[in-house]
Amino acid sequence: MNLEHTTSPKTVEWQTLCNRLGVRSAAEVTHIEGATYPTHIAEIDDLLGGGLPCHALTEIVSAQPSSGGSLLLNCLLESTQKRAGYVALVDTHDHFAPDMVSNERILQHLYWVRCSSTEQTLRIGDILSSDRNFALLIIDLRQADIRTLAGIPANRWYRFQRAIRQHGGTSVALTAQPIIPAAATRLELRHRFHLADLMRETNQLATELAVYPLRGGQALRRLA
């Protein structure tokens, strides 16, 4: 049987309207979501099918102290340098230690914003989410007041997520509790590092990060 595919005028009109409004079909969204940003941390890259999802916001929860949040942050900075890109770090309460990166050249790729409040962090995040120069945007909210974070309206996070999607960047939010409703992927760091680990090689420690998916990612789909 010879099947002919024809497009009705209504379909054409609908597609034109979608293009004008910037509405994407499910297939297009799946294609975009297929792109990943490798972290060079085997555990995370395997779990998420290659790396952090591009055009999306990933929330990484490190609820306990010394569970690897700062180690992960430094790994992300290093991976951006390897990709020859720029990374922006929005540091809610000015906790980042530039003297703790493995190589000072990494700092050349880093744009660090030292905020003093959660509100300031969100404003800066909004601005940076629309700047195409940054391959990765990291928002460190680990020390932010949890009540303030809980009081942020969900639509603000969704608006931020839309800006990330529109401008094609990758964004990571480090939090102490699962708090971002718009996060496409949510991971939790559960390993506890010990004093003796301070004498071990950093690269080796990065392989021991215990990452559990809470939302999104291949692993979660596998679990479901």
Partner: protein
């Protein structure tokens, strides 16, 4: 081949450019430069109300009670004439300023299909500058001038005989008596005149008739008196009314930037500093110097930088005048290095950085660099470089160093938090910082650190790395008998 670019009703259009909203209804432009004020231009609505050029204001208002009479602005017209001249030079360097608002361009040696496309683009660029123009293209300057009168907005005369049938004799610029004679013969358009034998015209009308016939036939095209233009990177305006909002100021600056970008383009230059000088009502001046991160000649980019820099501008008095001056440098084409890291849009980043600095304050954003000292947490912030060195080298070095790097990174508290520490046998056994408290499972230290003894404020401290029973690895230190929590490892 020649092109004539004309801006019809130029005085009106020059005035329209000054207004944020284009005025509607019957409008007349009043020329007050002579001994008596007369109407020098009217729009089509006013013309429909029988208001004519040459009337005095009282006569014009008597014809149309709702007539808006606007004063002529010679300054605005000069700007329009200059813009026209600059844009005409994008077609060819051989340009003549034929009249105020009319330029003739010598297109000989230029391919016609290129000219037609350029003419359309030129009309669009003039529209962006809020000017409506018409362009006529033909074999001689005169024919081009006449074709501009019929252009909508571009007319390229390919068949002269057909075109001449449309052109009345009156536009040829001949004297009244000569025109009357020709009308008496039944000659009303140029094609009819062109059909008459040249010698017979010469016998009956003499030299004047021959000159007219030659002009119509395109026998003796006149030589153009070429005009040279020097780039001017400065624009200024004194306001009629004082300006109290940024929006109104930006409207004027947008116009300036559009005009100056054109000057830059033609001079093959790029602006690297924007200097805005505001004249205030108390006769004082306020100047703002704005550095352009990547020299540019693009109007949109320059205006975006200007807009960001002036955001939140406060002056001590109302603004009554503004001047914009550009410092220009030679525009360099740049080819990207295959192995270097470069920003996609450095200008956009400069704008982003400005906005961020406004929110977080100075010295709170940038790219960190370590200071040459052993003092903990000694760093400085500098502007993020828009271009970095070769990728291969940096990655290679990065991996070498990363392999040998040991330990967990620290998340610092700035400033370090004061804590209570129980010490037994010179070793901390318990801490209490409020948020983090409990017995210490393991401790490593002490590490005595000191430095800058030659400075007025030398530093010395005793550091410990500790792990709490409940979990968590921390760095604490003792300085002048006080204990501090410096950060959390991990």
């Amino acid at each position: 081949m020649y092109a004539v670019i004309e801006i019809p009703v130029m005085a009106l259009q020059a005035i329209y450019r000054l207004k944020r909203k284009r005025p509607s209804g019957p409008i007349a432009i009043l020329d007050e430069t002579g001994q008596r004020s007369i109407v020098c231009e009217v729009n089509h609505v006013a013309r429909g109300e029988q208001v004519e050029v040459g009337m005095c204001p009282a006569q014009a208002l008597a014809r149309c009670g709702t007539l808006q009479v606007l004063p002529r602005s010679l300054e605005a017209e000069s700007t329009v004439a200059r813009l026209l001249l600059l844009l005409a030079q994008t077609l060819s360097p051989r340009v003549e300023q034929t009249a105020f608002g009319i330029v003739t361009v010598d297109l000989r040696g230029i391919r016609m299909h290129t000219v037609e496309a350029s003419a359309d683009a030129l009309v669009d660029r003039l529209k962006e500058l809020r000017l409506h123009a018409r362009i006529g293209i033909s074999d001689t300057p005169e024919h081009a001038r006449w074709s501009a009168l019929f252009a909508k907005p571009v007319l390229y005369v390919q068949r002269l005989d057909n075109f001449l049938k449309r052109v009345p004799l009156a536009v040829a610029g001949a004297s009244e008596d000569l025109l009357d004679i020709l009308k008496g013969w039944g000659i009303h358009d140029m094609a009819a005149l062109h059909d008459l034998p040249r010698e017979e015209i010469g016998n009956r009308l003499g030299q004047r008739g021959l000159a007219l016939w030659d002009t119509v036939a395109g026998r003796q095209p006149r030589l153009l008196q070429l005009t040279e233009t020097k780039p001017q990177f400065r624009r200024s305006l004194e306001f009629e009314h004082r300006v109290e909002s940024l929006e109104a100021l930006l409207f004027i600056l947008k116009r300036f930037v559009d005009e100056l970008a054109l000057e830059l383009e033609l001079a093959q230059s790029a602006a690297y500093i924007l200097k805005v000088r505001l004249k205030l009502e108390d006769k004082s001046y306020e100047t703002k110097l704005i550095e352009v991160p990547e020299p540019s000649s693009r109007a949109r980019t320059l205006f975006r930088i200007l807009e960001t820099a002036l955001d939140g501008l406060q002056t001590k008095d109302s603004i009554i005048g503004v001047q914009l001056h550009l410092e220009a440098t030679e525009a360099h084409g740049k080819q990207g290095d295959l192995f270097s890291v470069a920003m996609e849009d450095p200008v956009a980043f400069a704008e982003t950085a400005d906005r961020i600095a406004t929110i977080v304050g100075p010295g709170r954003s940038g790219s960190p660099r370590m200071r040459d000292t052993w003092r903990p947490d000694a760093f400085r912030l500098q502007t993020l470089d828009s271009e970095l060195e070769a990728r291969g080298e940096s990655v290679e070095n990065a991996s070498d160093t990363a392999d040998s790097y040991r330990g967990l990174p620290l998340s610092r508290f700035r400033p370090p938090r004061t804590i209570k520490v129980c010490v037994e046998r010179s070793k901390p056994v318990r801490i209490d910082s409020g948020e983090y408290a409990g017995a210490i499972r393991a401790a490593a230290g002490p590490w005595a650190l000191s430095g800058e003894w030659w400075e007025p404020a030398p530093w010395t401290r005793e550091e410990w790395d500790i792990e709490l029973e409940e979990g968590g690895v921390f760095r604490i230190f003792r300085q002048r008998s006080y204990w501090y929590l410096e950060g959390i490892y991990g």
